[in-house]
Subunit: 441 residues, 2 copies
């Protein structure tokens, strides 16, 4: 934190610069220039605020919405009217007010529409049916061959899973407000859309194919940003404006929420913390780089740590990653824990705490939330030690006020989050919000 | 980037949560809850947009401002009127329009007020006098004993430097609109303000003392955020909404601009990239952590790299860091470059490119701008190699569209940036903007 610079008496930075043409360029694309806000954006924000208040509360009143959002009661009445007219919210009941006339209760519409969220993982495709309050109605899962990288097969798999979900639940296609698909990898948007994962790059043609096969309004997002969206709307994001969600599984990655919005970055790839460096020239990562965080705290990385500590250990040879993590947790929490297992967990906590310290130092969130199946399996034995290492490794003061915890969002938060993005997008298409959601549609 | 999770059929994330009280908490502090925008904020944003347009252009017209900001001509007329009445801008001349009546030109007021920016570094205190267009009028510099960590001595040093600057330039104190002081370290704001640098922690009492000694409206910010502010208003930020400024000197650090605003984080400590990990358990850093980026690409780190490559090298023993960097540059750019020096620069570029790849992966900016005296000294011999390593080390796709360049802001960008923050704060105090600027005032 100490800091010094040499004083250079070069020409002063004055206000005389010829920045006219560059300033004028700010209208040509969302990732160029300082975003300009118009009164239309403001209305959008207010509508999203109202929607957020209704979703958070489950059931609420116009007065409570005004309190929660800080909007004037008159504005809330107008916006709720628009959302009622659009079928987004509904009046559920009227309760007698303490003083005078009855108060109507407002909640998300659960009748009119359905939203589908799809989680495309390496070994499965899971489709979840939601109502517009994002309550889960049903879900189906189909296995996927992780070695089949043919985009056509993935597209057909997604289409088939949606068809099955709708058929089994007797949902007519016209009741579906939209489908959100979470695809692994970086999704560059909103124009030069392509999905980049190692050995798997989709361009416009594959996305057009997907859109055609699904045949319903479609949004595509990365699973990490989907998880962060779920946390923002349905988890700790309801009381906290800047947070980071960290998913621990085979791969690891982060979703960043700043001031109540997902950090997307210039090309929608912000949050690629899993492939940031933990150790220069360290372990080989499957992304091709050496020393990535994922190579240490992804499930195969944790298994490698155990092999380094105890080369012949029985658990070191387990083939399936989830079996390995489950067995590790069982031994660690059992009556007679194995020292090599305990050391593996502590070293993993050291790696994870060190890597999270970097994320906290750069982003300085209020809250870091761990999620993913490694988190659920190892639970507090990992989290408590990680918290200690995070504090010890944080550059002085960066951790002040930050908190490390386990996410409170359960279920398939990828599907939930990408369904939430469908809802945002639907409001945009209905002209109810203009906040740009840079995903492939 | 490849990614998989195990499907867990835990209870679904529904909308039924009881988030009432947490949503209601969003009003109690700027770092809690999703920020709520009011129409007052909107006006502030519009005023800042207009101000930004005027500052960027130097001289401009209401029509050009409307084009650059996307605001309606009527709104621009209103806001320019307010800024004229507040003495922030002035009408400089009227030029005949191509069609019909003459068009008035608007620029920042250069008459009414002065702004002072102070750069407190380890070995000097530099005070720069600006007009409100942030044109530099004069500056003075006083030496500082870097071993004297007594806050009273620093406070008195700052006060004396300001007194001298104003006296030498015959500026009455009542002409000074405000003073910005850039102090090294993390500045936690806006309420629990304290400045944390190793061996140097200021709390409210020291800040009150500084405020009293200066006796003028005061803002305090960290030099890295000051540099980023200067870049945002007077450099590439005029045509680019997300960028990172990276300062290379004794210490190294980053300032992050997202969507046209400085990323401050929950406790104003975002951007502490210099003390994020490059190499787990690597070189000891003066911050107490091991393996920080700064330990490799700060000037002493570069010298250590040379010592590792060529232990007995003549330059390895130079005492003053700036002399070392200057000598290194001279040899590298000379007619017969020394292989050890070239290898030192290339290895530094490898370290720097790797560390920048992490920053790009997490933040995904459009642009990374290098600044600071190491950058000026080593110039393209460092920058070109760093760019190559950055691209090679970037997780697939994260670097797409990002650019590495040298900052175009010259002069003391710390002083310029912190003076710009004074201007923003002045507009806030005048009721012209309400955008919260979380610095000590």
């Amino acid at each position: 934190m100490k800091y010094s610079r040499r004083s250079v008496d070069a020409p002063a930075a004055g206000g005389q610069a010829s920045g006219r043409e560059s300033t004028a360029a700010t209208f040509q694309g969302m990732s160029m220039g300082v975003p300009r806000r118009t009164s239309r954006d403001i209305r959008s924000d207010s509508r999203l605020d109202v929607l957020h208040a209704v979703l958070s509360a489950g059931e609420t009143t116009r007065n409570e919405i005004a309190q929660a959002t800080g909007l004037s009661p008159a504005t809330v009445v107008t916006i709720v009217g628009e959302l009622l007219a659009g079928g987004i919210v509904e009046e559920t009941k009227s309760t007698p007010g303490r003083i005078g006339r009855p108060t109507a209760t407002v909640s998300m519409s659960t009748e009119r529409t359905r939203v589908v969220g799809i989680d495309v993982a390496e070994t499965y495709i899971r489709a979840v049916l939601f109502d517009t309050a994002l309550g889960q109605i049903a879900s189906v899962e189909d296995a996927r061959d992780e070695h089949d990288l043919d985009p056509d097969a993935v597209v057909e798999g997604i289409g088939r899973t949606i068809d099955r979900l709708l058929a089994e639940n007797e949902v007519p296609r016209e009741d579906v407000l939209g489908v959100g698909v979470a695809l692994p990898g970086l999704i560059h948007g909103p124009t030069g859309v392509s999905i980049v994962v190692p050995h798997w790059t989709w361009h416009k043609v594959e996305l057009d194919h997907l859109r055609e096969r699904v045949g319903l309004p479609l949004v595509i997002e990365n699973p990490l940003k989907s998880i962060a969206t779920a946390e923002l709307w349905l988890g700790r994001g309801r009381s906290c404006s800047s947070l980071v969600t960290v998913n621990l599984g085979t791969g690891v990655g982060a979703g960043i929420v700043l001031e109540g919005r997902i950090l997307r970055g210039a090309t929608n790839s912000a949050g690629e913390w899993g492939h940031s460096l933990l150790a220069l020239d360290g372990r080989a990562c499957r992304c091709g780089r050496n020393g990535c965080v994922e190579a240490y705290v992804g499930a195969p990385g944790i298994q490698l740590t155990l092999r380094e500590i105890a080369p012949g250990h029985a658990l070191a040879d387990l083939d399936a990653q989830s079996d390995f993590i489950t067995a590790l947790a069982a031994v660690a929490n059992g009556p007679d824990p194995d020292p090599a297992v305990l050391e593996t967990i502590d070293r993993t906590a050291y790696y994870l705490g060190s890597a999270l310290a970097d994320l906290v130092a750069v982003v300085n969130p209020e809250l870091v939330l761990l999620t993913g199946w490694t988190t659920w399996a190892l639970g507090d034995s990992l989290v408590a030690a990680t918290r200690r290492h995070l504090v010890a490794q944080s550059p002085g003061g960066a951790i002040v006020g930050a908190e490390l915890d386990v996410s409170t969002v359960r279920g398939n938060s990828v599907a939930t989050g990408v369904a939430m993005i469908v809802l945002e997008r639907f409001l945009a298409d209905a002209g109810l919000v203009t906040t740009s959601i840079p995903v492939a549609l």
